[in-house]
């Protein structure tokens, strides 16, 4: 009497690999919420450095913009400007400058959604960079400055219209 060979798994079938939860084992359980509060407090202890850090971030954005000179901004050459804008977006709010994050977010949106053959309008890009620099002079946590919020709304609208038309 012969024994039929055990069926071999089909190599095309995906494998679900369940591994022991070593992270939980090493941590010992969920992190208590008080640890998040302590971490927030620790971040606040760095706040005195934030003005300098955001200044450096905005300077990098300006330098990336200046480096483009009058060259049309396209998908081929936007990388450094986009990286700098993304950094300003990412760090502004963390450093207590939420308006910088919002202006930078608008610039990021313009650059990341730039259609393949399109050129970003220089004036609109420059207006974003200038506005971000200007916001640095506002009180750090201001989100309600009427001029800045009006300007932001205008720029977001211009970005939206540009992307719609191209």
């Amino acid at each position: 009497m012969s024994i039929a060979p055990a069926p071999q798994p089909d190599p095309a079938t995906p494998l679900l690999i369940e591994r022991p939860n070593k992270l939980r084992e090493r941590v010992g359980g969920p992190l208590d919420n008080t640890l998040a509060e302590k971490a927030e407090a620790a971040v606040q202890s760095l706040a005195k450095d934030f003005p300098q850090w955001i200044e450096e971030t905005v300077t990098r954005l300006q330098q990336a913009h200046t480096a483009l000179g009058g060259t049309p901004i396209t998908n081929a050459n936007k990388a450094n400007l986009y990286t700098a804008a993304l950094e300003a977006k990412s760090l502004g709010e963390t450093y207590g400058y939420p308006l910088i994050s919002r202006f930078a977010n608008s610039l990021c949106r313009l650059l990341v959604r730039l259609p393949a053959q399109a050129t970003a309008p220089h004036a609109l890009v420059e207006a974003h960079v200038d506005a971000i620099r200007a916001v640095l002079r506002l009180p750090q946590t201001s989100t309600q400055d009427p001029v800045a919020t009006h300007l932001l709304g205008e720029m977001e609208e211009q970005v939206r219209r540009f992307l719609e038309l191209t």
Partner: protein
């Protein structure tokens, strides 16, 4: 003035214990010294004592090859001509070392468009930390990794954490429709 010293263990005064990161070896990869300092300031009160910093892919590889890590926090956009954070994720998932290939990865990114998140998931990222982030955001992501780890999926076209965090539908696309995954338990 920020220190650019790399691969240093962070001093920590917290008592090691339950629900603490004190026993973890954590890699932070970010070209921004400010962000690394922010992360250190957030992780240290959570008990982290062994944090290894890298600002380039080469430095990250050195840590990966010399330390047994429990977690990596990687920035997508690295100012490194050798590649970005996603290139490092690919290297990690393709590593022949089991301790590296299954490493939980938190990807920090300002690229929060849906297509970018999907791309990163397809490359094997475990969790996202959208910039701008707070200590509470980081704390929540860490707890997600600790309490709800994703099983890994290996298919012809993908290897990495289950992209759906579901018990019964781990595979997306055609493969999900045509096949049921085989489950294995790995030690």
């Amino acid at each position: 003035m920020l220190s650019d010293k790399l691969f240093v263990d962070s001093p920590n005064n917290n008592e090691p214990g339950m629900g603490s990161l004190s026993r973890l070896n954590i890699l932070i990869v970010d070209d921004s010294a400010h962000i690394r300092r922010l992360l250190l300031s957030m992780l240290t009160p959570m008990g982290a004592q062994n944090i290894f910093e890298a600002r380039t892919l080469a430095q990250a590889r050195t840590v990966l090859n010399t330390k047994t890590l429990d977690l990596a926090i990687i920035d997508w956009m690295l100012d490194d001509p050798a590649g970005d954070g996603m290139a490092l994720v690919t290297e990690i998932r393709q590593s022949p070392l089991e301790t590296v290939t299954y490493l939980p990865i938190i990807m920090m990114t300002g690229h929060t468009e849906r297509e970018n998140i999907e791309l990163a998931r397809d490359m094997g990222v475990t969790e996202f930390l959208a910039k701008p982030f707070t200590a509470k955001n980081l704390h929540a992501r860490l707890n997600m990794l600790i309490e709800s780890p994703r099983p890994f999926v290996k298919s012809r076209s993908y290897f990495g954490p289950d992209r759906r965090r579901r018990e019964h539908s781990p595979i997306e696309g055609l493969e999900r429709r045509n096949t049921s995954p085989r489950r294995i338990r790995s030690t």
